[in-house]
């Protein structure tokens, strides 16, 4: 098993958002600013990596019939830990991400990797798989977040990157719901086009 491949496959080839279309809800909801995108990405990566590790460790102890509920308990525990820690130490991001922090538990990426990989592989590969997929997720979020924040507010990470005239009258729709959907659709189409060309 090529460990490096396990780690990097989540970046482009099997990117959870663009290629596998998982984890769509938080993707559209938190990408109105790059800061929130990074926050969510890192939180999800933490949960994904930790749960992958634990599940890989206890995979032989769990009876097959109840494996899904057990996975859910493990994932939900890490989500709660992230929720509490973020509320205590990064309250601003916690407030911005709001409902979507507890919703990490139903992020199909995490349950999906637990079922497809961590429950069938050893500790180290599972760790790398989780980390890689999580980073791929984060990359996708940051990409979409950048497009939306630059177009919709003329900012990137809160800093002005567009001329003043643009900031006065930005393409507001980009940071609103409709813009999120349309930008996502166009991006997916673009990526499909690029992949076909290869």
């Amino acid at each position: 098993m090529n460990l490096w491949k396990e780690f990097t496959k989540g970046f482009i080839k099997e990117n959870p958002v663009f290629i596998m279309a998982l984890g769509l809800c938080p993707t559209l909801a938190v990408t109105s600013s790059v800061k929130n995108a990074i926050g969510m990405g890192l939180a999800a990566t933490f949960v994904l990596t930790c749960s992958n590790m634990i599940i890989s460790l206890i995979k032989n102890l769990i009876p097959d019939k109840i494996r899904i509920p057990c996975f859910i308990i493990v994932i939900a525990s890490f989500v709660t830990i992230v929720d509490l820690v973020m509320n205590a130490y990064t309250p601003e991001i916690h407030k911005n991400l709001g409902l979507f922090i507890p919703l990490i538990v139903v992020n199909c990426i995490i349950l999906g990797r637990a079922e497809a990989f961590a429950s069938k592989n050893k500790l180290l590969p599972s760790l790398l798989d989780g980390l890689g997929m999580g980073l791929g997720f984060t990359l996708a979020l940051v990409l979409i977040g950048s497009i939306r924040e630059i177009l919709g507010a003329g900012l990137w990470l809160g800093k002005e990157v567009m001329p003043d005239a643009y900031i006065e009258n930005p393409m507001l729709v980009a940071i609103l719901a409709p813009g999120a959907f349309i930008i996502m659709g166009l991006l997916m189409g673009l990526i499909k086009l690029v992949n076909k060309g290869k």
Binding site: P69, I72, T80, L103, V105, V106, F181, G185, M188, G189
Partner: protein, 195 residues
């Protein structure tokens, strides 16, 4: 008559102004995944309405009579998702026995309702927005209706889309997202609605 007015207001808000899919971004995975045919969209929608309503009921009771009295609010995520998972399992078994054709049609999407963010989302929102027992049940019901409405509309549009010429790269999910964006644009018009 104010009681009826409040229920009507809640319904309008839950279905249109705060539509779960188009303004709250909840329930996107099934929205994009199951909206290819109107029949499966309707079937999925009904199942989701049922699960959302039942989930709202049970999670509210758990919050009120277990989590709050014993100061276990931090266990909310675990408690809620386990409740929902059990509920979906139950619904699956019941549908399998009573309506096997529906069971076959929904296939793998039925267990996936567990990971539908709309179900966990409405459970948490009911608590955050301070609904009492009746309010929580109704909010679950109406939010589910809003989800189904948008799901069926999307299915109708996508069935039509089969017959038009979509660029190769945009076929499937990309164009579905763009259409969702147009629908979201329309629903944005409801945002200032106030009685």
């Amino acid at each position: 008559m104010s009681f009826i007015t409040q229920i009507f207001t809640l319904a309008v808000f839950a279905i249109f102004v705060n539509n779960f899919v188009l303004s709250k971004f909840l329930g996107l995975c099934p929205y994009i995944g199951v909206s290819k045919k109107i029949d499966s969209a309707v079937g999925m929608g009904m199942a989701v309405i049922f699960v959302m309503t039942m989930a709202s009921t049970f999670t509210w009771l758990i919050q009120e009579y277990l989590l709050i009295p014993y100061e276990l609010e931090y266990l909310q995520t675990i408690a809620f998702i386990l409740t929902i998972a059990s509920l979906v399992q139950l619904v699956e078994m019941v549908i399998q026995k009573t309506a096997p054709s529906l069971y076959k049609a929904l296939g793998v999407f039925l267990p996936l309702i567990t990971t539908n963010c709309a179900v966990l989302g409405v459970s948490i929102l009911n608590i955050q927005e301070d609904f009492n027992f009746l309010g929580a049940i109704l909010n679950g019901l109406f939010s589910g209706l809003g989800f189904t409405l948008v799901l069926v509309l999307m299915a109708g549009l996508r069935e039509r889309l089969e017959k038009s010429e979509v660029p190769e790269a945009m076929k499937g999910m990309p164009i579905a997202f763009v259409i969702a964006g147009c629908m979201a644009l329309a629903f944005l018009g409801f945002s200032g609605l106030n009685f």
